[in-house]
């Protein structure tokens, strides 16, 4: 709004006359427009609470899960395919029933969610790192460097994320062989997800960087003599992180879904370290033989997780975008 300016002599006088006590970081956050817009949106508050609960369940899985689905000593094939608690033949030990190996579904979901989230976070961080670095360089340098990086990005975009992941998975298996699958599956997943998602970051950061680099504070830094790398990292990077944060949140949901898809297709996490996608894949075999819960509950957990994170991301996008406010 053009009407409210800081050109107010009264406030300037106050500033210099009596040093007002600086409010703490927390108090400032609670008073900020961002937090205010958060409270105003009911959906967002629900989504944030949901996300927080799901994250807690996932990361505290070893302590709160009723069983340890990886402890072979505690699972028994005799408990296999027990239905959830409200059905006939249910076992009170297994609230949501068990799978074909006799693993408790509830515990498996907690653990699976943990793996899904870890893969999601790691791949988002990796993709953001690649994308931000390349975007900064492309936007700041311009010219040929920019053209090369952005053409690579264009080519990258013509492949769907899953195809890239399958490709990298295939190459990695060719190199390391199938024996190492248990160890390498996790890293292969992260690398392939990162390589399929970096383009978005690169494009966004490149665009903002091209705007920022023409601003006078960057020129002032150049007049002082500061080298390009430091200008990029210290001056431009902090000013382009807003949109990146939004993409990262939305991409977290996307990464979790893609990971689930890959695991479902059998190129993701192995059944010994099941993510949500792996659990759904296992359950898929029993879907038509009446044991629907083995696939449906992990599927529900996945849907809930992705929905909550997405809603949060949507709000963040709107709240940080001054045009929509």
């Amino acid at each position: 709004m053009p009407f409210i300016t800081n050109e107010d002599p009264k406030s300037a006088v106050q500033d210099s006359a009596a040093p007002v006590k600086e409010p703490g970081r927390m108090a400032r956050f609670l008073d900020s427009d961002l937090f205010h817009s958060f409270l105003k949106s009911k959906v967002t508050v629900v989504a944030a609470t949901g996300t927080a609960i799901l994250f807690l369940l996932a990361f505290l899985a070893p302590w709160i899960a009723p069983h340890n689905p990886f402890d072979l000593a505690s699972i028994s094939i005799m408990d296999a395919r027990v239905p959830p608690f409200w059905m006939e033949y249910a076992d009170p030990r297994f609230l949501l029933g068990t799978d074909d190996q006799g693993r408790d579904m509830l515990s498996a979901i907690f653990y699976g969610m943990r793996i899904s989230l870890i893969v999601g976070f790691c791949s988002v961080v990796a993709a953001a790192f690649i994308g931000i670095s390349l975007g900064l360089v492309a936007g700041y340098m311009g010219g040929r460097v920019d053209a090369i990086i952005m053409r690579i990005a264009d080519v990258q975009l013509t492949f769907p994320a899953i195809l890239i992941a399958l490709l990298i998975d295939g190459i990695a298996h060719g190199i390391f062989g199938a024996i190492d699958r248990e160890v390498f599956a996790f890293y292969i997943l992260i690398v392939s997800l990162a390589l399929s998602f970096w383009v978005q970051y690169a494009r966004t950061v490149r665009g903002s960087t091209m705007v920022e680099k023409n601003k006078e504070y960057v020129q002032a830094a150049r007049v002082i003599g500061i080298p390009s790398v430091i200008i990029m990292v210290r001056h431009i990077l902090p000013n382009v992180t807003g949109p990146v944060l939004v993409i990262a949140t939305i991409n977290l949901a996307l990464a979790i879904v893609t990971e689930a898809t890959l695991s479902f297709l059998g190129v993701g996490m192995p059944p010994t370290q099941p993510s949500l996608g792996t659990l759904i894949a296992i359950g898929n075999d029993f879907l038509y033989s009446g044991e629907w819960w083995i696939a449906i509950f992990p599927g529900l957990a996945l849907a809930l997780l992705v929905l909550n994170v997405n809603l949060l991301g949507d709000w963040l996008r709107d709240a940080l975008n001054p045009k929509l406010r």
Partner: protein
């Protein structure tokens, strides 16, 4: 009966924590064929008055009290639909930026015809004829041909003429012009103002002109209303208000306007503006770090010698050199700057004056010519160490106080960066001390260091910029339009500060501005630029008293006549 009557208008913007009163208790009226000017600095609420009349207040703003009458009929309470019918039909609007107030995808004709047919019961061909008449009336030659063109085919001034035609096309009774000439060069500004005044008389239209520029007020208005923080402080005939201002705010506002006719030592210190005017703590420059013996070599002759400087930008790239196209921003420019003087570069937008500043500081590489700084040829510097040594000796102050500071850094870090980078201080404690002293010295106080740039006003930010520029202990300071984004009263303070600093530190300055009056107050010698060429270089008084080049004479003639102001200046100064 007057065309527009505003009675006790109050406009509120409810915020999250408090209600911001943008306009309070404003009473105005405009007669047919007369021009009323509303003048004030940014945040005074002058634009809000115009928006309230036409019903275009930005959400959540609303009229909280008072009445608006158009020809005796109350219009502020009309439902949305009827208010919309007034716009364009009874009230025409002229906006500041002619670049954005026309639809780039429609021809001028279709925009005019559409507006005419919305409001008047005319056939397509009648509307077209009317559009051509209007385009002719606003002084665009060859109207029947040019009307078929798109807005981008018109220059800025011509576009503003089209906007005026658009505002007049349905025979409105009132025209509201919000900063109609702020985005234009002086030579065009004069023509547009003349046109507006003429049309207003001819067509018997009442006009409300909103501006921050005292020159515009003096030029075309019959009555003037001075606003300060949402309130009307003075209202009366222009001759009366400008010639013998009664309210102290009006007096200080007028005395802050730079005088084009006489060079004064300092701008009168005015009250009624933001504090932070004087250094809180006096520093003895001779013994302080800032003034400490500089390791600069002495120069004999001019400090900066520019010879045949050429700069061209590629406008169309190609792998074949013969197919490349260039825009020549600077053509064979030569001038000298002596040590300790302020050299002014003046010219209209696009004349290449900012490009020269960027060439000297090394932001651009020139395509030809030489820049000699002391004994060093800047264009042939290759060694990074030598480049850094040069960078330290010259610093720059930029135009836009809002984009020239990194919003994510604390003020103390912004100022400390050059000191640390060039290793000008031995310890962190010393850096902190220097930063505090610098902030004190530019009149902000050391406490400002802990804050972020967005917590400061435009004038205060420009002080931070100055402190940053001084932090390398430069001997040569380039000011690129340092005050053109600021209000006049703050401009006066900043210019005073620059003058003081120059005297204390013995700085050599290159001062770039489009404003002749500012140039006159600041500079010893002046260069006039046009289309990348240097027309004339002369001593300040000589240039103003006896201009040699025809373009210089033209520029001087076009300066808004500030005779009224000058008289007031003499009275208060």
């Amino acid at each position: 009966m007057s065309v527009l009557d505003i009675k006790d208008l109050r406009v509120e913007f409810p915020g999250r924590k408090s209600v911001f009163v943008a306009v309070d208790d404003v009473t105005l009226s405009v007669d047919a064929g007369k021009v009323l000017g509303v003048v004030g600095e940014s945040g005074a609420g002058k634009s809000t008055v115009g928006n309230a009349v036409i019903g275009l207040l930005q959400e959540p703003g609303h009229i909280a009290g008072g009445e608006v009458y158009l020809h005796g009929k109350r219009i502020d309470q009309l439902p949305y639909k009827e208010k919309r019918r007034l716009r364009g039909r009874k009230i025409g609007m002229i906006f500041q930026d002619p670049l954005t107030s026309l639809d780039p995808l429609q021809t001028v004709e279709s925009q005019l015809v559409e507006t005419i047919r919305t409001h008047l019961p005319l056939s397509r061909s009648q509307a077209r004829q009317r559009a051509i008449d209007l385009i002719e009336a606003v002084g665009i030659p060859d109207a029947s041909e040019r009307i078929k063109q798109y807005p981008h085919q018109f220059s800025g001034g011509m576009r503003q003429r089209v906007v005026i035609a658009l505002a007049l096309c349905a025979e409105p009774e009132l025209v509201i012009a919000d900063e109609p000439t702020t985005a234009l060069d002086v030579s065009i500004q004069a023509q547009i103002l003349e046109l507006m005044k003429e049309l207003c008389r001819e067509r018997n239209v009442a006009m409300l002109v909103i501006t921050h520029d005292m020159g515009v007020i003096a030029d075309i208005t019959d009555h003037v209303a001075v606003m300060y923080h949402g309130e009307l402080v003075e209202y009366g005939e222009t001759i009366q208000v400008l010639g013998a201002p009664e309210h102290p705010y009006t007096q200080s506002l007028i005395s802050a306007v730079p005088r084009p006719d006489i060079k004064v030592e300092r701008f009168p210190v005015v009250n009624y503006i933001e504090k932070a005017g004087t250094p809180q703590k006096q520093i003895d420059i001779a013994t302080h770090w800032l003034g400490k013996a500089r390791d600069y070599e002495k120069v004999t002759g001019p400090l900066v010698q520019i010879k045949d400087l050429d700069m061209q930008f590629e406008t169309r790239g190609s792998i074949f050199p013969s197919k490349r196209k260039y825009f020549k921003a600077v053509k064979k420019v030569s001038f000298d700057i002596n040590e300790g003087e302020t050299f002014g570069l003046v010219g209209e937008s696009g004349s290449g004056k900012s490009t020269i500043a960027r060439l000297i500081t090394g932001l651009y590489q020139p395509t030809g010519g030489s820049i000699l700084f002391g004994k060093t040829e800047l264009t042939s510097l290759k060694n990074r160490k030598d480049v850094l040594a040069m960078r330290r000796q010259m610093q720059m102050i930029f135009q836009d106080p809002y984009s020239s500071l990194n919003a994510r850094m604390r003020v103390s870090d912004i100022i400390a960066e050059p000191i640390k980078f060039h290793r000008l201080a031995s310890s962190n404690a010393e850096v902190r001390q220097i930063v505090d002293d610098l902030l004190d010295h530019v009149g902000l106080g050391a406490a400002a260091g802990k804050k972020f740039p967005h917590e400061f006003s435009g004038g205060q930010r420009q002080r931070i910029s100055i402190a940053r520029a001084l932090a390398t202990r430069p001997r040569f300071l380039i000011c690129d339009e340092p005050t053109s984004a600021l209000d006049v009263s703050i401009q006066a303070q900043i210019l005073n500060l620059l003058k003081d600093l120059q005297q204390e530190l013995g700085l050599t300055m290159l001062f770039i501005s489009h404003d002749l009056a500012v140039i006159r107050q600041m500079c010893n010698r002046i260069g006039v630029m046009r289309h990348g060429e240097l027309c004339e270089v002369a001593d300040c008084d000589q240039l103003f008293e006896a201009p040699q080049h025809p373009y210089t004479r033209e520029l001087l003639n076009l300066m808004p006549s500030l005779e009224l102001l000058s008289r007031a200046n003499l009275a208060t100064a």
